[in-house]
Symmetry: C2
Subunit: 371 residues, 2 copies
């Protein structure tokens, strides 16, 4: 073994004790919040047939998956790069006959063969919840609320939710703002990048006002309603207003109706989660249709790295940790652990209790603070 | 997508809600028990350089690893098939200067390209703790105790621990029961398979009595002490007695000094964990030397599948779950969740609360049991 073998490949890293503990705590809090809203955790495997992972949902970058040949079936297997598709498979197959709406949640590692340009990580801890059987306004309101509760449960304060309308162009292009089918993709792209010049060049002049119906929810939705003279968006606007009302003051709501990056497979509603302290997005969600089973669903995904970034480095309050000298009373130590003490036992007698992180020492059955 | 794509590859499976919940609970309990004894969790990545995983410890079946080429480094990467080697790497590299003894624990999925004959699973959830910097009797006593506490924490009752002496033949062959170097491997193998005829044929007649120093600890260790006329095993026998004494009545202790399968890399002490209700072993542990850094260590590994088997199907007490009708008071629901209620909200008004697993219904601010 060379020293180089001791390094980790680019984009893969160890979470050492402090970070691992923060991950465990945040993960438990997020899972507990989802569980509290009736979402049952499922644990799909790390590896599946590539076709099953790649085939169930649009917009998943299959080229980035880690693939290899199964010696058993001689078929191509892949390491999961997204757990949403696995939950969709479960809903469509082994849980096809479970009552709807079906509420499932998950937390697990996903891996990519190649990092993307914005994020060098090749492994991410993905957490999320899916409400399967509905893409209604009520379903969307619930999912946004669960996402907010999950982030608050993990300890986040200032949460922002940015709403979008992923199928906006399709909805308008038919009648309200007519657009040839072959021009729609270009118009979507220019709207997504907020390029007014490009939008005009692509034949989307009529869509220009949409670029300005953006910002804090109340003002932005009012602007969108003004643009929607023909009423093509009326039900969507009403839906967004209902969802925003259901959230109330629990999060700051903004609107960016033309945002489309990251919402390639969502239908009428999408949202992005932000929090003070994190540079990027914490996660995304929205309404969609499960490919294959064509069942309506609403869900969200959050990622652990930006969540930890938003949580920041907390003052690492020294955990009360009790040093147990050689020959200590094992039963007494067990009783102290049972009431919440963390213990570190001497095994040689030459230990430096403080260097090992201890705050107290067991002496004659008493817990004495280390000076 | 064909129906076949909906199936999972052989040896890989989904954990659906009931099983996933059991896994989450057992995993939290095991991790909390290890944490209580001062073991810090680390989270190494799913994927590493193959050489790093394969090179750090003997006895790891590298042929069974899932391997692929890294497009970044053009080197071979592998999906981890054992987390112990990853913890060894962490101890030897990024945590090389952390004070000793270093107590680390882990829990995570490992995967194999091919199943072994006894276990068709190609993915396993591995949990364990490593005490790095010592392979003393005190270290071994602590690790066996932590393993027992972890299993008890998960809810197991009747735990058995079977002690072994992995380097028994090497210790005896030098002087007490002389054996040519080229005969030792055959003698080890025949002892491991308890084949008296084969042992004799392999030139190991003198080792025959070892086959009978097995069973409940007190009697078996007395027999082993009788065989050890020259005193070559004296320190080992004293060590085993000390470890057994430290466990006291917390588990049933047995001895099988010639057991070697599964202890290919352990040094003087090894143990296997059993529990009533599980057919196979729950896990193993012992003393070893971390390859590369050559640091002494003691640790154990347990696997989730046999642990769940030993826990058995518990009477699935219906969790108190509260149905929230359409138009319910959201703040009241949040307050009820905060005091431990699990809620399931109506989104259509046509839900069957009982079919969705609810036991209660919120009515006029009161929780009413469903009839």
């Amino acid at each position: 073994m060379t020293d180089q073998d001791d390094l980790l490949p680019v984009g893969l890293e160890d979470a050492l004790p402090a970070r691992a503990r923060a991950i465990t705590e945040a993960m438990r809090a997020v899972l507990d919040a989802m569980d509290g809203h009736g979402y049952d955790r499922v644990r799909p495997p790390l590896v599946e047939f590539e076709k099953s992972l790649a085939g169930r949902m649009e917009g998943v970058a299959t080229r980035r998956m880690i693939r290899f040949t199964d010696p058993e079936s001689l078929r191509t297997l892949a390491l999961r790069s997204d757990m949403t598709v696995q939950v969709g498979r479960i809903a469509a197959t082994v849980m096809a006959s479970a009552p709807r709406p079906l509420r499932l949640c998950y937390a697990g590692d996903v891996a990519m063969l190649k990092a993307d340009q914005l994020d060098p990580a090749r492994q991410r801890l993905q957490l999320g919840a899916e409400l399967i059987g509905s893409d209604s306004v009520a379903a969307a309101s619930e999912i946004v609320g669960v996402a907010i509760d999950a982030l608050k449960g993990a300890g986040l304060g200032n949460i922002s939710v940015d709403f979008t309308l992923p199928d906006l162009v399709d909805t308008l292009a038919e009648k309200a703002l007519p657009l040839d089918v072959d021009k729609r993709e270009a118009v979507r792209r220019e709207l997504d990048t907020k390029d007014a010049g490009g939008l005009t060049a692509a034949g989307g002049e009529a869509y220009l006002p949409l670029l300005y119906a953006t910002g804090p929810f109340d003002e932005a939705i009012a602007k969108l309603a003004e643009i929607d003279a023909g009423g093509a968006l009326a039900s969507r606007i009403a839906g967004l207003r209902d969802i925003a009302a259901s959230i109330g003051k629990r999060a700051r709501i903004t609107l960016d109706p033309t945002e489309r990056h990251g919402f390639e497979y969502q239908s009428w509603f999408g949202f992005t989660l932000y929090a003070e302290g994190a540079r990027g997005t914490l996660g995304r969600g929205g309404t969609y249709t499960i490919r294959g089973s064509e069942e309506a669903a609403t869900g969200f995904t959050i990622y652990m790295d930006p969540l930890l970034e938003a949580l920041g480095t907390r003052a690492d309050e020294a955990r009360k940790t009790l040093f147990l000298p050689l020959g200590h009373d094992r039963d007494a130590a067990a009783r102290l652990r049972a009431i919440g003490w963390r213990t570190v036992a001497a095994i040689s007698g030459s230990e430096d209790a403080k260097a090992l992180g201890c705050t107290h020492r067991l002496e004659d059955g008493e817990t004495i603070a280390l000076g």
